[in-house]
């Protein structure tokens, strides 16, 4: 077959976005290019992402690189057959794709032809019938127009005919960055990475913050957070992780806050630190893993009493999810095995024996009245460490030698 292999990325929702559409497509291209092997050429054409892979890169590898790009609903290996051409060439291509699908276990097929170029001699139904007959006689597959195992796509355009076979489904959502930037509060547990992923899927680029409390929490927990972020970058793109020095805050709370209120006050400080990070990262929202009623600090009253400190939206993608549902997503993302690593977290030490579950805002404010809030947040920020996390690894940020430049950007 005289043709050129390529990958087609489909997107549904962003095609609807009217005037913003070029922005969305640019973001999609950027996200795709970031993941594709070097030498790939990606472009937008006919409301589709078209990718030409470099020599030696298999379609399967290319498709895998794209299967986590937010905004794509499907990724399909395809052939582009330049016109002019004989119908026999198209039939050959369709037969090859059908044979490939048969090798993967498909038993039924359907031709879905579209004649965008109306000068083509056969109209769409006629094309369906002709190609269907050819595939039927050349392969062991049978036709099923309602629920085929494989749908062979044919798109006749003025410059070329595109053919595609079985594809992978994409994650959906919106391209990273199109919805802005947000700061995810990470704990090393099961919920926070799932929350970060779900929010990021709606087009947010991510920064993350982890409140580290050495020596009360060990290196193991910090490593878990780093590993979780690294895994998430495969979906979300690079993440800047702030490891905030939370020990002075926790000690001050332990010292001056009534026991029953400590967890709530501690949550308020975590949000405040995340807000400070958001200002430095120019982010427009916070993301937490709160699920309604899961623990004492996640009752409506507690969410109100902690959330009031935030002057940015606090996104809580898990708020209506059951633990089982959250775990199912965590397993799919493969964050679950990291989250359940046995941890030597001593945060249980700080947990009150009888935490308040229905606090009023006034009570919580009174409970932290003895603390110098802004000085403590500043101290936690001053004691923080920044890491640039990508799928390839984790480096200190700003990288050595760029300190001056990066601090100017702050």
């Amino acid at each position: 077959m005289n043709g050129e292999p390529l990958l087609i990325g489909r997107y549904a929702e962003i095609a609807l976005k009217g005037g913003n559409r070029p922005d969305f497509e640019r973001a999609l291209l950027r996200a795709a290019r970031w993941r594709l092997p070097a030498g790939s050429r990606a472009s937008i054409g006919g409301s589709r992402l078209l990718v030409r892979l470099p020599e030696g890169c298999s379609m399967a590898d290319g498709a895998r690189a794209l299967e986590h790009v937010f905004g794509l609903t499907a990724v399909q290996p395809a052939w582009r057959l330049p016109r002019p051409l004989e119908l026999a060439h198209v039939a050959d291509g369709a037969i090859r794709l059908a044979q490939e699908a048969a090798r993967d276990g498909a038993r039924t097929f359907k031709i879905a032809a579209r004649r965008a170029d109306k000068s083509f001699p056969l109209d769409s139904p006629a094309l369906n019938r002709r190609l269907g007959a050819e595939v039927l006689s050349a392969t062991g597959l049978t036709v099923d127009v309602h629920r085929p195992d494989v749908e062979l796509g044919v798109d006749v355009r003025s410059d070329a005919v595109y053919l595609w076979g079985r594809g992978h489904s994409g994650p959906g959502g919106l391209p990273t960055g199109t919805a802005g930037r947000a700061v995810a509060l990470m704990s090393g547990g099961i919920d926070s990475p799932v929350a970060a992923y779900l929010a990021a899927k709606r087009g947010l680029s991510l920064a993350a913050v982890y409140c580290h409390t050495p020596p009360y929490t060990g290196e193991g927990v910090r490593q878990k957070v780093v590993d979780l972020c690294r895994l998430l970058t495969g979906y979300t793109g690079p993440i800047r992780l702030w490891v905030a020095g939370f020990t002075p805050v926790q000690l001050a709370i332990q010292e001056r806050v009534p026991e029953a209120m400590r967890t709530l006050v501690s949550r308020r400080f975590m949000l405040r630190i995340a807000l400070a990070v958001a200002r430095r990262e120019r982010a427009g929202a916070l993301i937490t893993g709160d699920s309604l009623g899961q623990v004492a600090s996640q009752t409506l009253e507690s969410l109100a009493a902690t959330g009031e400190v935030a002057d940015l939206p606090v996104l809580r993608p898990l708020v209506a999810m059951d633990k089982m549902e959250i775990v199912a997503v965590a397993r799919r993302l493969e964050t679950y095995p990291i989250s359940i690593r046995p941890f030597d977290d001593c945060c249980s030490l700080f947990a009150p024996r009888h935490p308040r579950t229905r606090p009023t805002r006034l009570e919580v404010r009174a409970a932290e009245a003895a603390l110098d809030v802004s000085a403590l947040v500043d101290e936690a920020m001053a004691g923080s460490e920044r890491l640039q996390v990508t799928p390839d690894g984790v480096v200190a940020y700003p990288p050595a030698g760029r300190v001056h430049e990066a601090s100017a950007e702050d």
């Binding site: 060990g218 290196e219 490891v243 030597d344 984790v394």
Partner: protein, 408 residues
């Protein structure tokens, strides 16, 4: 990334660094480098060419070193993948061989997992296991062992040196008593923490089987040995070759075995200084932190191994040992805790509980262990760093309110 340089490694009971001489000998045995490649020591010891014979000879040298260390004959040494395999091979293999005689095992409540699990596996098959209690010093009494014997007792198994608190058991006395009272009972000794550090004349004492591991004495991980006295029949769990008398079939781990031999040969060089290093550590710590309590035997008595010191900080600072461990980490000091602070994720040490210690003390205990590469400088770092870490924690949140006991 917050990296703390390791300034004092006091977790040698967990593992030790490979000594340079050991690494060098192992590289030769692996054929790494032109000269080593030409020597051919990396050949299969079962091959009949000269290089195979050279490899076989290297294994023989190591076997001789191990045999000398245990006062047995070389043909009584079986190389294994380490202490755990050796313990399991002895317990399961010996009991299966003697199942016709009886189904009773005597052990203690403070054994290492590899012994405990072996006994538990047999228990599930219907064997009866007596787990002897020990006192606060961890010592097993000869009379208690004799009193636990039944007509159907097949095996008596325990560690020569306890891995958490360093109690040295009177193996020679127990072996002699068993020989008199019940010669048909096999005595198995877990010698993993003992070999290279205390006298281990198992052959002369009448021990039937004994386990050891290379990585506790400056050798590599993944190799150890089981002493099996002549006439002590063992049913091997796997088959597939005649190596190691059929007990441990498979091509020999020649580099590991060579490493074990060299490490064991070097042990007299460092073992002599251990006790005084430990004394310096203990005396320095108690001087700086007067509330410190020892778990197990008096550190300066001969009942205590020269390399393991287990102390409780309950009277010094009210934090769980895990927190102290993290604070020591910041000082560049590596140690280990007898128990983790989070009740959800770790069991408190069965050994410390077995000594009859209260939960508070168990939860605040720390093990400091010395080894072949430990220096006086490391002890000095510890003597400076431990009190500093404690002082920092004393100003922490837990001196009032939630205590260690709550966290357990």
């Amino acid at each position: 990334m917050a990296t703390h340089a390791l300034r004092a490694y006091l977790d040698n009971a967990a593992t030790t660094p490979v000594l340079p001489e050991v690494a060098e000998a192992m590289l030769t045995a692996m054929g790494a480098g032109e000269d080593a490649a030409a020597q051919g020591l990396w050949a299969n010891p079962s091959s009949s060419h000269r290089w195979g014979i050279a490899a076989s000879a290297a294994v023989t040298v190591a076997r001789g070193t191990v045999a000398d260390a245990l006062s047995v004959r070389p043909d009584e040494v079986v190389f294994t993948s380490g202490g755990t395999e050796a313990n399991q091979l002895a317990v399961l293999g010996r009991c299966r061989a003697r199942a016709g005689r009886g189904h009773h095992i005597v052990t203690t409540a403070i054994e290492h997992r590899s012994l405990l699990d072996g006994c538990a596996a047999l228990e599930r098959e219907g064997w009866v296991v007596t787990r002897l209690p020990v006192g606060p010093d961890g010592r097993l009494q000869v009379e208690a062992v004799l009193a636990a014997l039944r007509p159907d007792t097949v095996l008596c198994a325990f560690a020569h040196v306890n891995n958490e608190v360093g109690t040295v058991q009177p193996v020679e006395d127990i072996a002699a008593a068993l020989r008199g009272a019940a010669p048909e009972v096999t005595l198995h000794i877990d010698g993993v923490q003992a070999v290279g550090k205390v006298s281990t004349e198992y052959g002369r004492w009448g021990v039937g089987t004994a386990a050891l591991s290379a990585h506790k004495l400056g050798g590599p991980k993944g190799v150890g040995a089981l002493l099996v006295r002549r006439g002590v029949r063992i049913v091997p769990p796997v088959s597939g070759g005649a190596q190691e008398g059929g007990l441990r079939p498979g091509t020999e781990n020649v580099p590991g075995i060579v490493g074990l031999g060299v490490a064991l040969g070097l042990s007299p060089r460092w073992t002599a200084g251990l006790r005084s290093l430990k004394s310096d550590l203990w005396r320095g710590l108690i001087r700086a932190l007067p509330g410190l309590e020892v778990n197990g035997p008096d550190p300066e008595s001969s009942d205590a191994a020269p390399h393991i010191l287990n102390v409780s900080f309950a009277g010094v600072v009210r934090v769980p040992a895990e927190v102290l461990l993290h604070a020591l980490e910041a000082e560049g000091i590596a140690a280990s805790a007898g128990s983790a602070c989070s009740a959800r994720h770790a069991e408190p040490s069965h050994v410390l509980i077995g000594l009859g210690l209260d939960p508070q003390r168990v939860g605040s205990s720390l093990r400091l262990s010395l080894g072949p590469a430990t220096t006086g400088a490391e002890v000095a770092v510890a003597l400076e760093g431990v009190p500093r870490a404690v002082a920092r924690l004393r100003h922490g949140p837990l001196r009032r309110g939630a205590g260690v006991g709550d966290a357990l």
